[in-house]
C-alpha cells in the first residue's frame, strides 16, 4: 500500500514537473487548425483574381505599435479620410504595446483573427517573411504604390526577388551631449566633436577631469563594417568574408576604447539601455541615438535636458550609408482582403500621411516627396528641431541593416557574441575574427541548406 502511494506520488510529481516545464511551449489546437486548414489567400494568383472586382463592405483590421493614446487624433484622422475616399472599406484600428507585438500577433493568427495591416519593425517583418507569413508586395502591389518610397528603405525587407513591407516612419541618429559635464571637464560646451578622433579625445578629458564615462559604443558593428567597405558576405550569400584588414583595424580600435577604460564594461551588455539610463542620470556625457529619446530625457530628467546639446553624429566615413531604425507596415498572407489591405497600407504610409505625422512627432518620412518638404529644413532653437534638421539630411543615405536572408538574426547574433567576448577580454581581435567567421559560416550554411 505504502509502495503504491509512493508510486502515485512520484507519478503525480512527474506530471507536475512536465506541466511546469512544458506548459510554456504548449499551444492550442485551434492554432494548428488555423494555420493548416484556413486557406491562405495570399498567393499572387488568388489575389490577382480578387483584384478584378472590388469587394463591398470590407473591414480592414489595422494594428499599430504603441501609438495610442499619443497619436489617436492623427491616426483616426487619416483613417476617416481614407474611409471617405474608399466608401466600401472600413478600417478598425487597434494599438498594441511594442513589447507584446509578437505574442499578440501570434495569438491572433493562431485564433484565426489575423489583422490585415500590421505595423512592425524590420527584424520582426523579416522573421515573419521567412516563415512565409507575409504578402509579397513585389508581386501584389502596383509599381505606382511601390515607387513612392526611398529604394534603400523599401528594400530593407527584401528577400530574394520579394519585398514584404511598405516602409513607414524612421528615426535618424544624432549626437547628444551634456553641456554641464563638458564645462566641468573644461571643454567648450559649444564645440561638440566633428569626428571619432575628437569623440575619443573629449571622452579622455572628461574621464580625467570628472571621473565620468562619456559614451557606450552602440553602433551596429556589422553595419560599421559595411560602411567601412567590408562585404561581410559574398555576392551569392554563401560565404562569410570578414577576415579582412579593415575588420581587424576596427576591432582593435573599438577594443582599445574599452582597454583605455573610456567605455564602461556594463555598456557591453547593457548597450543603449545602459547609455540612456546613465545619460539621464547625468552620469554619462554623450548619447548617440535617435532624437526621439530627447523626449524621454525631457520627461525623466528635465535638468539634464536643459543642458543637452545636439549635433551631427560623427561618422566612421564621410559618405557611407547610415543605419536607421525603420518602422514598416506589412500585410499578413492570411488576411482575406489583400487588395484593400495593400491600398490602406500604402495610404497610411504615403507622402501626405507621413508629412502630417512628422509634424506631430519627431520622426522622418520614408517617402521621397514628403522628405523634400521645407518643414525638414526649417530649424528652430530647441534640441528637437535641431535634431530634425540634422537627421533629415541623412535620409537619402538611410537604410535598415539587413542581409536579405531568412533567419539572418542567427548570423548577426553569432558575430555579436564573438565581438562581445573580445571586448570583455576573452579573446584577441585576431581570435575574434576567426571564431566569428567560423560561427557565422556555420549559421549561413544551415540557413542556406534549410531555405534552398
Amino acid at each position: 500500500m505504502a509502495r503504491r502511494s509512493r508510486l502515485t506520488a512520484v507519478l503525480l510529481a512527474v506530471v507536475m514537473m512536465m506541466t511546469m516545464v512544458l506548459a510554456a511551449c504548449g499551444s492550442n489546437n485551434e492554432s494548428s487548425s488555423a494555420s493548416n486548414s484556413a486557406p491562405p489567400t495570399g498567393s499572387a494568383q488568388q489575389s490577382g483574381e480578387k483584384s478584378e472586382a472590388p469587394k463591398e463592405n470590407v473591414q480592414i483590421d489595422f494594428w499599430t505599435l504603441s501609438l495610442s493614446p499619443n497619436f489617436d487624433d492623427y491616426i483616426n484622422g487619416r483613417i476617416k479620410k481614407f474611409e471617405s475616399e474608399n466608401p466600401n472599406i472600413k478600417v478598425k484600428w487597434t494599438d498594441i504595446p511594442y513589447n507584446s507585438a509578437e505574442n499578440k500577433l501570434l495569438t491572433s493568427i493562431a485564433g484565426g483573427n489575423t489583422p490585415d495591416v500590421v505595423n512592425l519593425n524590420t527584424v520582426l517583418a523579416l522573421t515573419l517573411a521567412s516563415k512565409n507569413a507575409l504578402v509579397d508586395l513585389n508581386a501584389e502591389a502596383t509599381e505606382e504604390q511601390r515607387s513612392i518610397y526611398f529604394e534603400k528603405m523599401y528594400n530593407s525587407t527584401a528577400l530574394g526577388n520579394s519585398a514584404y513591407a511598405f516602409p513607414w516612419y524612421l528615426t535618424g541618429a544624432v549626437f547628444m551631449y551634456n553641456k554641464k559635464i563638458y564645462e566641468e571637464a573644461g571643454l567648450d560646451p559649444n564645440t561638440p566633436p566633428k569626428n571619432w578622433d575628437e569623440v575619443v579625445q573629449q571622452a579622455k578629458t572628461i574621464k580625467e577631469k570628472t571621473g565620468k564615462y562619456s559614451f557606450v559604443y552602440t553602433n551596429h558593428i556589422l553595419a560599421d563594417l559595411r560602411e567601412l567597405g567590408v562585404p561581410i558576405l559574398n555576392e551569392d550569400k554563401t560565404k562569410v568574408m570578414i577576415n579582412t584588414p579593415e575588420v581587424l583595424k576596427h576591432a582593435k580600435w573599438v577594443k582599445s576604447l574599452y582597454d583605455q577604460e573610456l567605455i564602461p564594461k556594463d555598456g557591453v551588455t547593457g548597450k543603449y539601455t545602459y547609455n540612456i539610463d546613465q545619460f539621464q542620470a547625468g552620469q554619462m556625457a554623450m548619447l548617440m541615438t535617435g532624437p526621439q529619446f530627447l523626449n524621454r530625457v525631457k520627461e525623466n530628467a528635465p535638468d539634464v535636458y536643459k543642458n543637452t546639446g545636439v549635433a551631427e553624429l560623427p561618422r566612421l566615413t564621410q559618405d557611407g550609408d547610415i543605419v536607421t531604425a525603420l518602422m514598416n507596415v506589412v500585410i499578413p498572407k492570411l488576411s482575406d482582403s489583400h487588395k484593400e489591405a495593400i491600398a490602406f497600407a500604402n495610404y497610411i504610409t504615403n507622402d501626405e500621411s507621413q508629412l502630417e505625422f512628422a509634424k506631430v512627432v519627431n520622426i522622418l518620412p520614408s517617402t521621397k516627396q514628403a522628405a523634400k518638404d521645407p518643414f525638414f529644413t526649417t530649424e528652430a532653437d530647441d534640441p528637437e528641431s535641431k535634431a530634425k534638421v540634422i537627421t533629415a539630411k541623412q535620409l537619402d543615405r538611410a537604410y535598415d541593416f539587413t542581409f536579405g536572408l531568412n533567419r539572418e538574426n542567427d548570423i548577426i547574433k553569432a558575430f555579436n557574441d564573438e565581438w562581445d567576448k573580445m571586448l570583455l577580454g576573452q579573446q584577441t581581435p585576431e581570435e575574434m575574427i576567426k571564431a566569428a567567421e567560423k560561427s557565422m559560416q556555420e549559421k549561413l550554411d544551415a540557413i542556406n541548406a534549410e531555405f534552398k
Binding site: 512536465m18 512544458l22 507569413a133 551588455t269 492570411l334
Partner: protein, 298 residues
C-alpha cells in the same frame, strides 16, 4: 467495504475536485499533451506545420547555445541547498517567541511579494560598475576597482543567482516555519532533559524531523531553478543571456526560440528535453531524500 457515510464523503470529495481538475485539464494537461507531438514538427503558428521526425532533437544536441544553457541551468541548482539552509535557519530564528518576531516574519516575506521584474531592475542597478554594491565594497576596502558584475562572464550567472536566493528565502522560510510548528515539542524537550544543547537539538531533532519539508522545498526550488527565467531575462536585457550566452538558461533559450524566432516545434523539443532532465533529478531526489520525519526514528 465503505460505509454509506464514507461513500457519500468520497463522492463529495470527487465533486469538489472536478472543477479544479477541469481547469487543469484544459490549461495544463492538454497543452502538455499537445506539446509532445509539437516537438516533432516545424510548427511556427504562421506557416504550414510539417512533421520533421527527430530533426528538432538532433538539432538540439548539436546546438552549442542549448548545451550551454542546460549547463548553466544545472549550475543554477547551486541555489537549491543555499536557499534551504538559510531559510531553515531563518525559520528557526522567527519561530522563537520573541517580542516583535512578527515584524521579522513579514520583513523576510517582503521579497516574495515584490514583483520579480521590479526587483531584478533594482538589483541590476546595484550590480552596475557605479552601483551601490561596488560603492560599499570599495568603501570597506574589500575591492580596489569596481566590478561590472553582470558584464563579467564568470560572475554574471552567480550575480543573478543572488537575486533568486534573496527572492526565494521568505517563501521557503514560511514552509519551514509551518514544519517547525508541526514538530511535537515533547521530542525537543526530552532531548533537552537528556542534556542536549541548542545546536544538538537543532541538528539531531529539528532538522531530521523537517526532512519531508526539506524534500518538498528542494523539489520546488530545483524546478524553479531549472526553469529560471524572469531574473535572467530582465537583468540581461536587451540581450537575453548576455554576455555572450554566459547567463543563457534553458528556459530563456526556449523562450527565445519560440517567441523571437517563431520556432515553436524546436522550442517544444527543447522543453521536452529539459523536462526529462528535471524528471531524472527528481527521481534521484525522491530516492535519496525520502527517509525523514517521524520515520527517521522508526
Amino acid at each position: 467495504m465503505l460505509s454509506k457515510l464514507n461513500r457519500n464523503r468520497l463522492r463529495f470529495a470527487y465533486l469538489m475536485i472536478i472543477p479544479g481538475f477541469m481547469l487543469m485539464a484544459v490549461f495544463v494537461f492538454y497543452p502538455i499533451l499537445y506539446g509532445l507531438p509539437l516537438a516533432f514538427t516545424n510548427y511556427s503558428v504562421v506557416d504550414e506545420m510539417k512533421w520533421v521526425g527527430w530533426k528538432n532533437f538532433d538539432r538540439a544536441f548539436k546546438d552549442p547555445i542549448f548545451i550551454k544553457s542546460i549547463w548553466n541551468s544545472l549550475i543554477y541548482l547551486i541555489v537549491v541547498p543555499i536557499i534551504q539552509l538559510i531559510s531553515i535557519l531563518m525559520a528557526i530564528l522567527v519561530n522563537n517567541r520573541l517580542r516583535g518576531v512578527q515584524f521579522f516574519r513579514v520583513a523576510y516575506f517582503v521579497p516574495v511579494v515584490t514583483s520579480m521584474v521590479a526587483a531584478a531592475i533594482a538589483w541590476r542597478w546595484m550590480f552596475q560598475g557605479n552601483g551601490i554594491l561596488n560603492y560599499l565594497l570599495q568603501s570597506a576596502g574589500l575591492i580596489g576597482k569596481p566590478i561590472s558584475y553582470l558584464a563579467e562572464a564568470d560572475v554574471a550567472l552567480f550575480a543573478i543567482m543572488c537575486v533568486t536566493v534573496w527572492k526565494g528565502l521568505g517563501y521557503y522560510m514560511m514552509i519551514y516555519l509551518a514544519g517547525l510548528q508541526s514538530i511535537p515539542s515533547e521530542m525537543q524537550e526530552a532531548a533537552r532533559i537528556d542534556g542536549a544543547g541548542r545546536a544538538k537539538v537543532i541538528w539531531y531533532i529539528t532538522i531530521p524531523l523537517l526532512k519531508p519539508f526539506v524534500l518538498l522545498c528542494s523539489l520546488i526550488s530545483m524546478m524553479s531553478a531549472i526553469r529560471v527565467f524572469d531574473e535572467v531575462y530582465v537583468m540581461t536585457a536587451p540581450l537575453p543571456g548576455a554576455p555572450f550566452n554566459a547567463t543563457m538558461t534553458s528556459a530563456v533559450y526556449t523562450y527565445e526560440k519560440a517567441f523571437r524566432d517563431f520556432d515553436f516545434g524546436y522550442a517544444a523539443a527543447l522543453g521536452l528535453i529539459v523536462s526529462l532532465i528535471v524528471m531524472v533529478i527528481s527521481i534521484i531526489m525522491f530516492k535519496y531524500g525520502r527517509k525523514g520525519g517521524m520515520s527517521y526514528y522508526g
